[in-house]
């Protein structure tokens, strides 16, 4: 370890726009050794704040606090929504600080205790926050070694740490624990020269499998989600909603509702909340509210949206281009054109949006199921014209997010209602509200034209993505002439995407991987080649070749002389958040009913260094299982602003009987930085199943999801 320079002075004016003073932090958490640090690396996702927005603090962006009993508290703005970072972050801290894992306590998603963070999304925690945290832990260890050196009168470079005990190997009697160093002190340390982090190979916990550390409280009902909280005097709110998204409140009469015992109705502009200490009564009172809305006439529906997207006056932003595409097509022996339609999808996590808001004296506290506590804090402070340090957002356990808990509408509603009524207010959305106000996965259209020469090499690739972004559209294969173009609304043109859209697990990548891999498969068929051999022939990226071969080995894939082979085996690869995946699936199809069942799916994943292979495997399996929904059943049906699917009765999620045998291999790369693990395996499932349907029957489907009706229709066409 490099000799580090440290200083103990408190930097003045540290609060900035973060909203909390360091001295306030001490008031809140008591004494001990607190280390503020400024981990910085080139992969920092948000090095500069957008105008008017916050960014990583300049002086420190994480805290560690070591208690007198040796407990290491780690404060992070990230939140736990099931993805298991509550465990993998502990592994990282334990290794870099040389303490047992059980000594580490994660404090997450509390804007008052934790430093600023942009939000928990994009599989960022381990790949971006992780390296920062490792540097932080190394710095913390540096400070503790320095304190120990002073106490033991031994140079820091001579000291060793095992399980939170610092000692001199030449004189093992000379030792001191982290806790003893923290005892009776309020020490604040601030390091500005970074010690190097140790090599991954030296680690005890990183790279090994551990089970979740929150399972025990989640199986007893003890774990608290936002909707489980209660405050004295708290009222439940049920909110008046229009029948469809375009509704504007014209008139409202809530005199009858107010006759329900204990009911108060409050209105703030369009927001009408029916409040009662009893949620059921609040719901009954809401039914007595008479309201009239005006609705805009919107003609588009879930069937006509695709045509509307293609016909819209769009931009054409060329995102990637190489070679000469026209010259490339001239070299082609066969050219294939494909158009794919992908619908809107709901997030449909089981925990509905909830928020509890309380104004107390001059302070607002909001507990919320949210992936973005700090942006919520910003929004609340702005709405109520309050300083940031008077607004606290706390995120308890979150019951699934997948990108859908970033808008925080329910939290704003709870806070406004609490402000008007003067009491703490709990908002828990109904499932119908969830479907109405979701930020859906974007519907999109892909138009792909590409061709191969006589030897089966792809020579030209012209790819257009309409309204669905281009994440995951990377060419992956070695194609000399290619162009990837994104089409969006031109400024001041009417919205085609009438539903609110936002990130949905691996945003847009499901669409783009589907498009590329169906097209690749069509080219393989045109070349009369086995789809594995065709892919390997056109790949140059060694990491992808290794990943695909690993999947093929695990599957026991035997190339077929003809394609389609009739076996019902599909292949697809993709990249997301730096991670590579290759999947091979085997399906069976009932040609009478059009029902498709995935029997087996194999997935190989190269995610660089994998901190917790068990946790990553669970994420991978979760991705594949969730993907069965967008593959077979999920599709938001709507007519204008009216969402037709408003509950699980018609919006069908994957069930136990759908889940195939899932086999996976994580290619552990201890020498590589970690990449994302929460999303990649979801991206290839639509393509792998579509390609397997083709392999079984020779029929192609170009519209998601593959419902039995669509499968039958495709079979008819042949």
């Amino acid at each position: 370890m490099k000799k580090e320079k440290s200083n103990t002075q408190v930097a003045s004016g540290t609060t900035g726009r973060r909203g909390m003073e360091r001295r306030d932090f001490f008031k809140l958490v008591g004494g001990g050794v607190v280390i503020f640090f400024l981990p910085r690396c080139s992969s920092d996702p948000v090095p500069v704040a957008e105008p008017g927005k916050r960014s990583l603090p300049k002086d420190y962006n994480a805290f560690l606090k070591i208690d007198e009993d040796g407990t290491v508290n780690c404060y992070t703005g990230k939140i736990e929504q099931g993805q298991g970072i509550i465990m993998s972050l502990v592994q990282i801290m334990a290794d870099d600080l040389n303490v047992p894992m059980e000594k580490i306590k994660m404090v997450m998603g509390d804007t008052e205790l934790c430093p600023w963070d942009g939000g928990t999304w994009g599989s960022m925690t381990i790949r971006s926050f992780g390296p920062n945290m490792r540097r932080a832990a190394a710095e913390a260890k540096g400070v503790l070694l320095e304190l120990a050196a002073n106490k033991l009168k031994v140079p820091a470079t001579q000291l060793v740490v095992v399980d939170g005990v610092i000692f001199d190997p030449a004189n093992p009697g000379k030792s001191v624990t982290y806790g003893e160093l923290a005892k009776g002190k309020k020490i604040e340390k601030f390091l500005d020269v970074k010690p190097e982090v140790e090599d991954y190979s030296k680690f005890t916990f990183i790279g090994k499998s551990f089970k979740r550390n929150d399972a025990k409280i989640k199986v007893t009902g003890e774990a608290k989600y936002t909707g489980d909280l209660k405050l004295p005097g708290m009222l439940f709110a049920r909110i008046l909603r229009p029948k469809s998204l375009s509704g504007k409140l014209a008139s409202v009469d809530y005199s009858e509702a107010e006759k329900v015992p204990g009911t108060t109705v409050v209105r703030d502009g369009e927001l009408v909340g029916v409040l009662n200490a009893n949620l059921v009564l609040a719901g009954r009172a809401l039914e007595m509210v008479k309201a009239e809305y005006t609705y805009d006439e919107i003609k588009v529906d879930n069937k006509t949206i695709f045509e509307a997207m293609i016909k819209a006056d769009t931009t054409a932003d060329v995102e990637t281009t190489a070679g000469d595409i026209e010259a490339g097509f001239k070299q082609c022996d066969k050219i294939i054109e494909t158009e794919i339609h992908d619908p809107f999808l709901a997030h449909a996590f089981i925990e509905p949006h909830s928020a509890l808001a309380q104004f107390e004296n001059d302070k607002l506290t909001v507990w919320a199921s949210s992936q973005t506590p700090y942006p919520l804090q910003d929004a609340l402070a702005k709405h109520f014209s309050m300083p940031l340090n008077k607004v606290r957002v706390i995120v308890p356990f979150v019951g699934g997010g997948f990108g859908g808990k970033s808008k925080n509408q329910q939290a704003m509603e709870a806070a406004i209602l609490a402000k008007v009524c003067g009491k703490p207010v709990m908002v828990t959305w109904t499932r119908e509200e969830e479907f109405l106000y979701d930020n859906f996965h974007s519907a999109g259209v892909l138009k792909i034209k590409s061709g191969i020469d006589k030897s089966g090499l792809i020579k030209a690739w012209d790819y257009h993505a309409y309204f669905c972004g281009t994440r995951g559209s990377e060419i992956v294969y070695d194609v000399p002439n290619h162009k990837i173009t994104a089409h969006y609304h031109k400024e001041n043109t009417p919205q085609v995407h009438i539903l609110d859209t936002g990130p949905w697990r691996a945003p847009n990548n499901n669409t783009n991987t589907l498009g590329r891999e169906l097209q690749i498969d069509r080219l393989a068929a045109a070349a009369k080649m086995d789809p594995l051999e065709f892919r390997l022939k056109n790949l140059k990226d060694q990491r992808m070749i290794d990943t695909l071969k690993a999947a093929a080995d695990l599957f026991g894939y035997v190339p077929s002389k003809k394609y389609p082979s009739g076996r019902g085996i599909g292949i697809a690869v993709g990249t997301d958040v730096g991670t590579l995946v290759a999947e091979i699936a085997e399906i069976e199809i009932d040609k009478k009913t059009g029902k498709v069942k995935v029997k087996r799916i194999v997935c190989a994943q190269d995610m660089g260094l994998c901190v917790n292979p068990h946790g990553a495997t669970m994420q991978l399996e979760g991705c594949i299982t969730m993907a069965l929904g967008y593959t077979f059943s999920e599709e938001i049906r709507f007519e204008g602003g009216n969402i037709i699917d408003r509950n699980y009765d018609t919006y069908e999620l994957p069930r136990f009987s759908w889940v195939p045998k899932i086999e996976s291999i994580i290619l552990q790369r201890m020498d590589q930085p970690p990449h994302g693990g929460g999303e990649p395996a979801i991206i290839a499932v639509g393509a792998v199943v579509g390609n397997a349907i083709f392999d079984a029957t020779g029929a192609r489907l170009f519209q998601m999801p593959y419902t039995p009706e669509r499968v039958l229709e495709a079979l008819k066409k042949g």
Binding site: V219, Y225, I350
Partner: protein, 158 residues
Amino acid sequence: MEETISFQLNGKQTEIKIDPTQTLLWVLRNDLGLTGTKFGCGIGFCGSCTVLLDNEPVRSCSISVGEVKGKSVVTIEGLAKDGELHPVQKAFVEHDALQCGFCTPGMIMNAAGLLIKNPSITRDEIKAGMEDNLCRCGAHIHIIDAVETAAKEMRGGK
């Protein structure tokens, strides 16, 4: 109109003065402070509100508190005995049969009910019995493994 409803709740005789048409789920959560039982969909389709009513798994969002009069209700909080986790709970921890954990109480109660009814349950029967409980995170395989392990333990390792 309020009336006094008596029933067994997690093994204890319980009386509550309440409008009997109120939904059992919300009475458990808000009046009796048992928030382990979760609200998911409100129409009995997701199973996150599952409790045992006279040992039978039921959707507490779809029945009224009046309907449990004189009966026995067990919620996730009442499953462990004397600090010892129920075999299904233990197996869920052992198999990491959860991610976000929100569907977990309903999954566990449904599984516990299945095992009371059919201690010699097969893996296929477990799948069929769990079919109507939804999990969005995709912990399905681990859940089936866990229920199978619990069934085995409850049969004395056979």
